[in-house]
Every structure is written in C-alpha cells, then in structure tokens.
C-alpha cells in the first residue's frame, strides 16, 4: 500500500516569503506528526494531530509556524515570512489507531535564500 507522501519534495524560497508543505498520511491513520530535521541535528517535534482532538502545538518554534489537518486526513504546514534558519527537512509521520509505530514520509527539503 501507499506510504506517507509529502509535497513538494524540494522547495527553494526567498527570505520573507510564505511556504506551504503538504502531507498525505497513510489511509486510515488517525495520528499525524510533523518534525523538523536540521543538518547534524536529530528530529525536532513540531506539532501532533490525533483524531478530532485539539492538536499539540507545543513544538512550534514561533508564531510564524502553523499547521492544519483537514477532514482528518491531509495536513498542511505553513511557514510565514520564512527565515534562513527555517532551512531544514520537514518530515511528516502518521500512525494507525492503537498503533505505536510512526511511519515517516520522505520529507520536504526547504531552503530559504
């Protein structure tokens, strides 16, 4: 079956522009996570959606970052007024109801010039 997909795979933008990153989780998975992976760093949690519950936004680094999940499926991570320090790989993961494994997508590589 299809895994987690993310688009675009690569994004180059200019400082100050807004970007939207998309995640399509595995069908039927109720939990969806966004992580950020900077060069030489581990994965940093950003935000977590579980079913219809309010999302856990505790990892968002600033108010320039936001995310939504429509219809309990597709999610969009939006970064407003991008900064050079936002350059990283943004990874999305999903997990099934009652499941503990998080399945990761291939990521979106964001470069802010």
């Amino acid at each position: 079956g299809a895994g987690v997909s993310q688009s675009p795979s690569n994004k180059v933008t200019e400082k100050g522009k807004d970007v939207e990153l998309r995640c399509d989780p595995i069908s039927g998975h109720t939990a969806l996570y966004w992580y950020r992976q900077s060069l030489g760093q581990g994965l940093e949690f950003l935000i977590y959606f579980q079913g219809n519950s309010a999302p856990d936004k505790s990892g968002l680094p600033s108010d320039r970052f936001s995310a939504e999940r429509t219809g309990g499926s597709v999610s969009t991570l939006t970064i407003q007024r991008t900064q050079q320090e936002d350059s990283a790989v943004y990874l999305c993961a999903s997990s099934p109801p009652g499941g503990e494994t998080q399945y990761f997508g291939p990521g979106t590589r964001l470069l802010v010039l």
């Binding site: 987690v4 939990a31 996570y33 992580y35 030489g40 760093q41 581990g42 994965l43 940093e44 949690f45 977590y48 579980q50 856990d56 990892g59 990874l91 993961a93 997990s95 499941g99 503990e100 494994t101 998080q102 399945y103 990761f104 997508g105 291939p106 990521g107």
Partner: protein, 112 residues
C-alpha cells in the same frame, strides 16, 4: 535541554563486526523507546522498539538492551553489513501515541 543523548556521533565498523550505539534519557516518564534507521534522502523507518518492562529485545541481527536504573538503552547490530550503513536515531516517548523525542543520530559506516 536535550532529553535523549546519543553517542557516538559517527561509527565505522568492518563487515562482520558488531556496531553499538548508546542512548541515555532523563525523563523517567518515558515508556517507549524505538530505534529508527534513515538512509540518505529517505524518511526514518522503525527498526526495533522496546518498553521498560523488558531488559532486552532481539529481532534478527538487531538487539536493544535496556537498563532502567541507569536510564540507558543501546542498539547492537551483529554481523554488520555494508547495507547497514545509515544514520540511526534513538527516541523516546511517554506513550505509544505521543510525540517522539529523538537523539541527534549516529552515522554508521560499515566497510566491506
């Protein structure tokens, strides 16, 4: 505050050797400890995971050893192969459905 500390940062092993990667955690509320494997250009993939009620879990050539009192866990790769060359991340969470806290990763190179 880094909640999960991973070492070494990089590791070079000969084919057939044993690769050992160590992690230490601080939060005693963590109860799920997975290891992820990541190849260049790919997302991480679950390799093996353990809960604190057991001290060891083995799956094929991969073994997790867990020391609850020391708040440490490690990944052992037996008979390491060049195909095992990848970056390995340890992680921890407070329950199966919660966010993962990751170590900074170990880049493993297995020479033929």
């Amino acid at each position: 505050q880094q909640q999960v500390k991973q070492s070494p940062q990089s590791l070079i092993v000969q084919k057939g050797g044993i690769s050992i990667i160590n992690c230490a955690y601080e939060n005693t509320a963590f109860d799920y400890f997975p290891w992820y494997q990541q190849f260049p250009g790919k997302g991480p993939a679950l390799l093996i995971a353990i809960r604190p009620d057991v001290s060891e879990k083995k799956e094929g050539r991969f073994t997790i050893s867990f020391n609850k009192s020391a708040k440490q866990f490690s990944l052992h790769i037996m008979d390491s192969q060049p195909g095992d060359s990848a970056t390995y991340f340890c992680a921890a969470s407070m329950s199966w459905s919660e966010k993962l806290v990751f170590g900074k990763g170990t880049k493993l190179t297995v020479n033929p």
